[in-house]
């Protein structure tokens, strides 16, 4: 898939991270948005994202990630569900913050 076809949503409990991510990924993909954990499910249910990246460093993020694993297929959404956070997790579906934006772009494109 070309970058111009990708629709990416970044979900985090941190407003500052969401503000920064929204600005940075806004121009990278066809859709590049960031939102808080409270709004994420409404946006995903109504939207057509190809990738959803959830920051799992705090409890609300972990909860949203776990519930999206259950709810995305129920909603018949094909978005790839990926994780992000401050910890070191050895998993190809996880990207550690802070990352270089080129690294984020490569991470999304590789899924």
């Amino acid at each position: 898939m070309e970058k111009k076809d990708l629709k990416v949503l970044f979900v985090s409990e941190h407003n500052v991270v969401n503000l920064a991510m929204g600005k940075v990924i806004g121009d990278l993909f066809q859709i590049g948005e960031a939102c808080g954990t409270e709004d994420a499910e409404d946006k995903i249910f109504e939207g057509d994202y190809t990738h959803v990246v959830v920051m799992i460093d705090l409890d609300k993020g972990k909860k949203v990630y776990d519930l999206l694993k259950l709810r995305l297929p129920i909603w018949k959404k094909s978005a790839k569900l990926l994780r992000s956070g401050y910890g070191n997790i050895d998993d190809p579906d996880y990207i550690r913050l802070p990352f270089l934006i080129q690294d984020f772009s490569k991470f999304i494109s590789s899924h």
């Binding site: 409270e38 499910e41 409404d42 249910f45 109504e46 909860k63 776990d66 519930l67 259950l70 709810r71 129920i74 909603w75």
Partner: protein
């Protein structure tokens, strides 16, 4: 705001069936497979578009737990306490269901509100959703 219905069921196939019916009626289903998920979801969406709850009777308290306990009764308590219409949908045999109906009655008496329905003998989600909509229209 999108109108939402929580569906609590630990069997994936049944959960999908119930959620498909909810989506066909134009609502957003919030699928839950444990008591913990359902209670968190009620708390998160109460007053934010949550219009009803469909719940199984037996499912685990937490991920990986045993489905033996009647966690659905806790969901009934939480729903009535929050003033959200709730229907139990279970394949419990109606001949063996008196303990459950008695406990539901006790919860209703304690809270002072009634559930919208209790479907027994089969997982008839269509009937359960119909009972929920009847309650919503009251």
């Amino acid at each position: 705001m999108i109108k939402k219905i929580i569906v609590v069921e630990d069997k994936t196939e049944e959960l999908q069936k119930a959620c498909d019916l909810v989506m066909a009626k134009g609502f957003m289903p919030l699928a839950c497979s444990t008591n913990e998920d359902a209670v968190d979801t009620i708390k998160k969406y109460q007053g934010k578009g949550l219009v009803g709850i469909l719940t199984d009777l037996h499912f685990p308290v937490k991920e990986g737990g045993s489905p033996e306990g009647a966690s659905g009764l806790h969901i009934v308590y939480k729903a009535l306490e929050a003033g959200i219409p709730v229907v139990i949908c279970s394949n419990i045999n109606h001949h063996c269901a008196s303990w459950a109906t008695d406990l539901v009655g006790a919860i209703e008496k304690a809270i002072g509100k009634k559930i919208a329905g209790f479907v027994q003998d089969s997982k008839n989600w269509e009937k359960a959703l119909g009972l929920l909509f009847n309650e919503k229209e009251k």
